[in-house]
């Protein structure tokens, strides 16, 4: 187990370097002048250009720039923006907000998705089943911004159940609606995967044994059946955290949340390559670590899976 973990962690290094370089190269390739619009209508004076070019190594090749960026990164320094603000600052203020939103979304999709999946998996072709199948189809088919605006208008504007936008305190109660919007598509997938998994396992011999032991149905389903049906659901949930954080940009926009989505969009527009790369690098880290966590969870859920 220890060796497996070590190997997995070592594998992260080339993946991390590869992905960050690709992102770096992509941002580098974006056409445009970093000085455009920075100094008003008249353009930046030459000495300012020269100063900034030297400071940010703008005349160097991508290799040099990437190498020095990575050097700083490994020292925990994400660099600074053109205006001199440390990127660590931006990350420190925006990431917690996005993470909070993503965790709320993940919780909502896990609870509702799994609940709907279990109920429909046990009673296929019933009313509930059809209801869930149709509504999940809706959630999957509709783009997030449609769901977001419609729910915001219904709950926030028309019925006044919640505030249409999220305040700076980011209270959990405020995040339920945006969380639902953000997690809606994944929720639908989770419901469907859980449904299939439960339906597949409910006729398994060990479920029959559990019934024959005279266990209450609650326990047969909640302990014996559920534990065996969780693996595909856990896979989806685990890999979803990164996707939710990366995909939060639209939801954050709709509900006025100051998260990484807003920051990364602004950075792309102003060609703040270091900011873009830094935000994405942290996202990549989240993805990689969640993937590792999922693999470790497999072994916890199914003892037949052993890592050597």
């Amino acid at each position: 187990m220890g060796r497996y973990l070590l190997r997995r962690l070592l594998q992260l290094i080339p993946v991390f370097i590869g992905t960050t370089f690709m992102i770096y190269a992509l941002v580098w390739k974006v056409p445009g002048d970093p000085f455009a619009g920075k100094c008003g209508d008249r353009g930046c004076p030459d000495n300012f250009r020269a100063l900034m070019t030297e400071k940010y190594q703008l005349d160097q090749s991508i290799w040099v720039q990437y190498a020095s960026y990575m050097k700083n990164l490994f020292q925990g320094d994400f660099g600074i923006t053109f205006s001199g603000r440390p990127i660590n600052d931006i990350i420190a203020t925006s990431y917690p907000n996005t993470l909070k939103l993503a965790v709320v979304a993940l919780t909502i999709e896990a609870v509702i998705g799994l609940g709907a999946g279990v109920l429909t998996g046990l009673r296929r072709n019933g009313f509930m089943d059809n209801l869930v199948l149709v509504s999940t189809l809706f959630l999957i088919a509709l783009p997030v911004f449609v769901i977001g605006f419609v729910l915001q208008w219904l709950f926030g504007v028309k019925w006044h159940i919640v505030n249409p936008t999220v305040s700076n305190e980011m209270r959990i109660s405020e995040l339920i609606l945006p969380g639902f919007v953000l997690g809606s598509a994944s929720m639908a997938y989770i419901a469907r995967v859980a449904r299939t998994s439960i339906a597949e396992n409910r006729r398994a011999d060990y479920v029959r044994t559990a019934i024959a032991k005279g266990l209450p149905m609650r326990r047969v389903v909640g302990v014996h059946l559920l534990r065996n049906s969780l693996i595909p659901v856990v896979t989806l949930l685990g890999t979803d955290l990164g996707a939710l954080m990366g995909g939060a940009i639209i939801t954050e926009g709709i509900f006025g949340i100051n998260g990484i989505g807003r920051q990364v969009l602004r950075a792309i527009v102003t060609k703040e390559s270091a900011t873009v790369v830094s935000i994405v690098v942290v996202l990549v880290l989240v993805y990689l670590l969640m993937n590792l966590l999922v693999d470790l969870l497999y072994a916890a859920l199914d003892p037949r899976i052993r890592y050597e």
């Binding site: 009673r123 409910r202 032991k213 014996h224 037949r304």
Partner: protein, 347 residues
């Protein structure tokens, strides 16, 4: 929620008298059909048998004869759909279980009637330790503490002669050998001290040497606990030592019932005769094995008359017309053959 995984059949108008007879477990005129897309398969067509305390009844039959489905109906673990009970009674201490509430039936499972399954690898939950799965019953059904339940579970593992029971408690099913796993399965089924044990082909998935050990163990535990045991098997060799009575099933019916000695000595049904004849014998080494010609009937289209008639070497015109009822032959046996008397009375 209870109707989700098992359906509790309690349709009114079932046949049977329902009188208490002092028997431990009786199945009377049980009928089960499987409604599938391709049609209705009549899997159980009026099965009647009983088992008393301290007695072992072997139910013998080919695959598809309905022996397992009967057991599943008794346990209340019949898959519904496709399986539906369409008639008959299953009485435990004289009370028809098919009319009981789901909760009443649940209480009987494990404590009144317990079951051992054929394939212990798939019948045990792969993601829980063997110990957990045994201790679970003490915790859930007896309300014991975790520590007490563990102690009792280890005792049970000990009783089924699993070496190092304490250490084995926290092993998972896949870490057990086939024989040990079946022992653990037995320990699990006996945990709540059931009055009736149904063993559905308990040794089919095992090596021959292990088979004998498991059968010995089952026989021993059955005698010690004075349990009624229903031993479902297709292996004539397995039943001879353990069973008191044998019920032979064919196409969802009992075709013959007798005590072991009488049945082996002189079968009263041509099907039983065919089965006994098809046992390989040492003194006929090198000769072709005898078989029963033909195949079991398609349960969606059982031939009229005696269901065995197309394969029966003794078939007469009457066999194609009339279903022979299971009738008493002599003092302590019954056969569903028009020519049972002739069979018994031949030299």
């Amino acid at each position: 929620m209870s109707d989700i995984l098992v359906s509790e059949q309690s349709a009114p108008g079932f046949g049977g008298s329902g009188r208490p007879s002092g028997r431990l477990l009786e199945v009377e005129d049980l009928r089960v059909e499987f409604r599938t897309r391709d049609g209705v398969a009549k899997v159980i067509n009026g099965v009647t048998y009983h088992v008393d305390a301290g007695e072992t009844l072997a139910v013998l039959g080919e695959s598809g004869s309905g022996k397992s489905v009967t057991a599943q109906t008794i346990m209340g673990i019949l898959d519904t759909p496709p399986g539906f009970v369409t008639g008959g009674q299953v009485r435990f201490h004289g009370k028809d279980m098919l009319r009981m509430s789901a909760e009443e039936r649940r209480r009987i499972r494990g404590e009144g009637i317990a079951m051992i399954f054929q394939d212990s690898l798939s019948a045990l939950n792969p993601v829980f330790t063997v110990g957990f799965q045994i201790a679970e019953q003490f915790r859930v059904r007896r309300g014991m503490s975790r520590a007490d339940a563990k102690k009792r579970a280890i005792e049970m593992l000990d009783q089924v002669k699993i070496p190092n029971a304490k250490g084995r408690f926290s092993n998972y099913p896949h870490q057990f050998s086939g024989g040990m796993r079946q022992r653990a399965m037995i320990a699990m089924s006996l945990a709540l001290d059931p009055e009736v044990l149904i063993a559905d082909e308990p040794t089919t998935a095992l090596d021959v040497t292990v088979q004998a050990q498991i059968m010995d163990l089952l026989g021993e535990l059955q005698r010690e606990r004075r349990m009624g045991m229903i031993l479902i098997t297709h292996d004539l060799g397995v039943v001879a030592d353990v069973a008191d009575r044998i019920a032979v099933m064919y196409a969802g019916r009992i075709v013959e019932e007798a005590n072991v000695y009488e049945l082996y000595r002189k079968p009263a049904h041509p099907y039983t005769l065919g089965l006994l004849d098809s046992i390989p014998r040492m003194d006929e080494k090198g000769q072709e094995l005898r078989t029963i010609k033909g195949l079991p009937p398609n349960l969606m289209n059982i031939p009229p008359g005696c269901p065995f008639n197309p394969r029966c070497p003794m078939a007469q015109p009457v066999c194609r017309e009339k279903v022979p009822p299971l009738l008493q032959v002599g003092t302590s046996r019954a056969s569903a053959c028009h020519f049972a008397e002739e069979l018994v009375n031949r030299d």
